[in-house]
């Protein structure tokens, strides 16, 4: 019954929209008929913009959909085993299989369909499978996740449920789409927000039931044990992936490098000792999901309790989900790096050990670039300038302390602090390039400098009344040539 109301409400979005436009037109006509030219002009301007916003809301946003071409499309001939699994799961769930399959670089899986008329009509169905899931889960855990997603579209008992869910997605999309735009879009969004709230109130328990129903369907297919472990493991996979991608892969990529291995390294990260404690912590206390305002997922403990209670035994042996993939899972790396990038040769291929050293070196190069430029090009010339009492010429003049009205001394001290950072980078760089020091990074992203500690000497060298003597002596003791090689 609720589902019927929900569908009626969805249709009502269009009714409401059209009624509003009719109202705007009516107001305009009334102004015209009663010979109020100023009022007419105003109402045309304001009414026109609002009507425009309404129409964009109804057509462009609700008409389009959240499904897009992303990740690596895989055809049936590319990944026959993965496709076979998906087909089998769709069959067991009792829904039609997706038309297209994508492997994406996200710790997530999803099914989407192109919808028309606020989700009332569905067309192309797409499935996205996160490569990190393929890398971390077992086949049975993955089956649970994928069957859950398919389950949203195939619960026989609630035939309209799919429509309700799709409508919910479409409404959220419409609201977020309207909200981030100009004032007249926001005005319309505010009106529809109330309508949407009504819709969500009507469908909240329905969506909750749907989530649990999808869990139940998936559990019947994958077994309780896989269901529980998949639910527990998903936040861990996500945490590991975020760490890998944001702290390791992306910085390297942005610095112009391409690691020789990606998902193999990701596996290394998951197994590394320094991360064990961190991932265990996530496993014990999964972070509260950052719920979207309209998210309707039940809390994780409730879901785990529900699938445990079903006590569905597992069938047959299990294996890593990655074994489903052809070519040792080469498709996973392609989600991040298209073959085109390699052919163009814009990124330099390096292994991870070199990469962590190179990345640390690159940040030092960045950090010392300005100093090297104004200081004559090398550590040696910088120290010469300091000895000549030309510290001021090395200080940055383009930065200001946090206080709005800093005195000359505060400006100078602030700039000195920045200079110390730059000089430290230049000293480390010089030492490392002459093999007197190296950097080491762990998977947690902590870089340590293995080399002589020259903090005091650097402070001395940058003091108004200091001297470079200590630093020079320390470097001479190491037989460092003070002209860096770059």
């Amino acid at each position: 019954m609720r589902a019927v109301v929900a569908v009626a409400l969805l249709v009502g979005v269009y009714v409401l929209g059209l009624a509003l436009i009719a109202g705007i037109v009516l107001v305009n006509v009334l102004f015209l008929v009663h010979d109020r030219p100023i009022g007419f002009v105003w109402s045309v301007v304001i009414g026109g913009t609002l009507a425009f916003a309404l129409l964009t809301g109804l057509f462009t946003i609700a008409g389009a959909s959240d499904d897009e071409e992303r990740g690596e499309p895989v055809g049936e001939q590319d990944e026959p085993e993965l496709w076979a699994l998906v087909r089998r799961l769709a069959d067991e769930v009792g829904t039609r299989p997706p038309d297209r399959l994508f492997v994406v670089a996200e710790a997530n899986a999803a099914v989407s369909q192109r919808t028309r008329l606020l989700g009332l009509v569905a067309t192309t169905r797409r499935m996205y499978v996160g490569a990190p899931l393929l890398a971390c889960l077992t086949e049975r855990q993955l089956s649970f996740v994928l069957a859950h997603e398919l389950g949203h579209y195939g619960n026989h008992d609630t035939r309209l449920a799919g429509v309700v869910a799709a409508g919910r997605v479409a409404l959220v999309r419409m609201l977020t789409g309207l909200n981030n735009r100009s004032w007249y879009h926001v005005v319309v969004a505010v009106m529809f927000a109330y309508y949407a709230k009504l819709y969500f109130a009507v469908t909240a328990s329905l969506s909750r039931q749907q989530e649990l129903a999808a869990d139940a369907t998936a559990t019947r297919i994958a077994g309780s044990e896989a269901a529980v472990s998949a639910l527990r493991e998903l936040p861990v996979v996500e945490a590991a992936w975020t760490l890998f991608h944001d702290r390791h892969f992306r910085p390297a990529w942005e610095a112009g490098f391409l690691p020789t291995t990606i998902f193999a390294a990701f596996a290394g990260l998951r197994g590394s000792p320094e991360l064990g404690a961190y991932l265990d912590e996530v496993r014990q206390n999964p972070p509260e999901r950052v719920l979207g305002r309209y998210d309707s997922h039940p809390p994780l403990p409730d879901r785990i309790a529900a699938v445990t209670a079903m006590a569905v035994p597992s069938r047959g042996p299990d294996r890593p989900a990655g074994a489903l993939l052809a070519n040792n899972g080469a498709v996973m790396d392609r989600t991040l790096v298209s073959p085109l990038v390699e052919q163009l040769g814009v990124k330099q291929r390096v292994d991870w050990a070199t990469l962590s050293h190179t990345a640390a070196r690159a940040t030092r190069v960045d950090r010392s670039r300005r100093l090297a430029r104004v200081g004559g090009g090398s550590l040696g010339t910088v120290l010469d300038l300091l000895d000549e009492g030309r510290l001021s010429s090395l200080l940055r003049t383009d930065v200001r302390p946090g206080s709005g009205t800093p005195g000359p001394r505060a400006r100078r001290e602030f700039a000195r602090g920045l200079l110390i950072g730059e000089l430290t980078a230049l000293v480390e760089l010089t030492l490392a390039d002459q093999r007197h020091a190296r950097w080491e990074s762990d998977w947690l992203g902590r870089t340590t400098f293995h080399g002589p500690d020259l903090t005091t000497e650097i402070d001395q060298a940058t003091d108004d009344r200091g001297s470079t003597g200590g630093l020079r002596a320390a470097l001479a003791g190491l037989r460092v040539d003070q002209v860096p090689t770059r």
Partner: protein
């Protein structure tokens, strides 16, 4: 502006100085200190040394003179360096350490950018070294210990480390006013409960200061019994500092005791230069706003 209700407030009718007389910067009133600061701004240190010397033993006075000289030292340090070259004494060391703290605060300002925070921390560590040097030169002087209390707040020392510093301070000057205010800031960064306990033990002035620091997170703080008692104690006192009056304004205003607020404003005259006004972005504007609103609301009450 036409709709601004405060334009009918007319503070002068209540015997308050005209708005135009209110300022948030006043010249130094102590003539010796004023001359010392002026000389320092010209690079001369002897007057500063002369101003510091007689403060030995009167620690609140020493804090006052140290702070005034340190303000100039945080602006320009040429005279401090000459002082160091010619007569590196305990007075210089105390001023020098206090000046480093002020430099650090200027580097931070209200910013939370990494460069500013890093600079703030670096210079505070420099201040710590300077304070330790001053302690070495003058083991009986609480002044550098007060500086360390400020450093502890800025670098968020752990409580054990703070307790050591605090113990050294109070064993030299049990009621050191400036250090108590600095300690309040330290506790503000640790725990508001401990901060209030600390303030309650330290007297009514500190209680109002603590309430002011807490009012953003706890708007009802002014209505607590602790604050109400502190207000009564202060109103019964023979003599009040301008800072106390400033905080009393906020407390009494929150209690809707506008006639008494106006009394405090009458005593403050045109001085919008102390606490709590200096904590606002526009000290004079805030002062005038409270003043005008109090007059308007007092008029409504009669």
């Amino acid at each position: 502006m036409a709709l601004d209700p405060t334009r009918h407030a007319d503070p002068e009718r209540w015997g308050l100085v005209p708005d135009a007389y209110v300022r948030d910067v006043f010249p130094e009133e102590d003539p010796v200190l004023a001359r010392a600061v002026t000389a320092a701004s010209r690079g001369q240190w002897r007057q500063a040394a002369d101003a510091m010397k007689p403060t030995w033993g009167d620690w609140d006075d020493r804090a006052r003179v140290t702070l005034a000289l340190a303000r100039e030292g945080a602006r320009t340090d040429e005279w401090l360096n000459t002082w160091r070259d010619e007569q590196p004494d305990r007075d210089l060391a105390a001023v020098d350490a206090a000046a480093w703290v002020l430099v650090a605060k200027e580097i931070l300002g209200e910013s939370d950018e990494e460069d500013h925070v890093d600079g703030f921390h670096r210079v505070l560590r420099r201040a710590e070294r300077a304070a330790r040097h001053a302690i070495h030169l003058a083991p009986q002087d609480p002044t550098p210990w007060w500086t360390l209390v400020e450093v502890a707040g800025g670098l968020s020392f752990d409580q054990a480390r703070f307790a050591e510093i605090w113990h050294e301070l109070v064993s030299r000057a049990p009621r050191h006013r400036a250090a108590h205010e600095a300690a309040l800031e330290y506790w503000a960064g640790q725990s508001s409960d401990v901060m209030l306990d600390f303030a309650a033990n330290a007297g009514p002035s500190l209680v109002l200061r603590a309430a002011f620091l807490l009012e953003d997170e706890d708007p009802l703080i002014w209505r607590t019994e602790l604050v109400a008692d502190a207000v009564d104690q202060l109103l019964a006192a023979d003599e009040l500092s301008n800072d106390d009056r400033g905080h009393l304004v906020l407390a009494l205003y929150d209690h809707n005791r506008f006639a008494e607020v106006i009394e405090q404003f009458r005593a403050l005259g045109g001085r919008a230069d102390g606490a709590p006004w200096s904590r606002f972005e526009d000290p004079k504007g805030t002062f005038l706003e409270y003043r005008a609103n109090s007059c308007r609301k007092a008029a409504l009450k009669i």
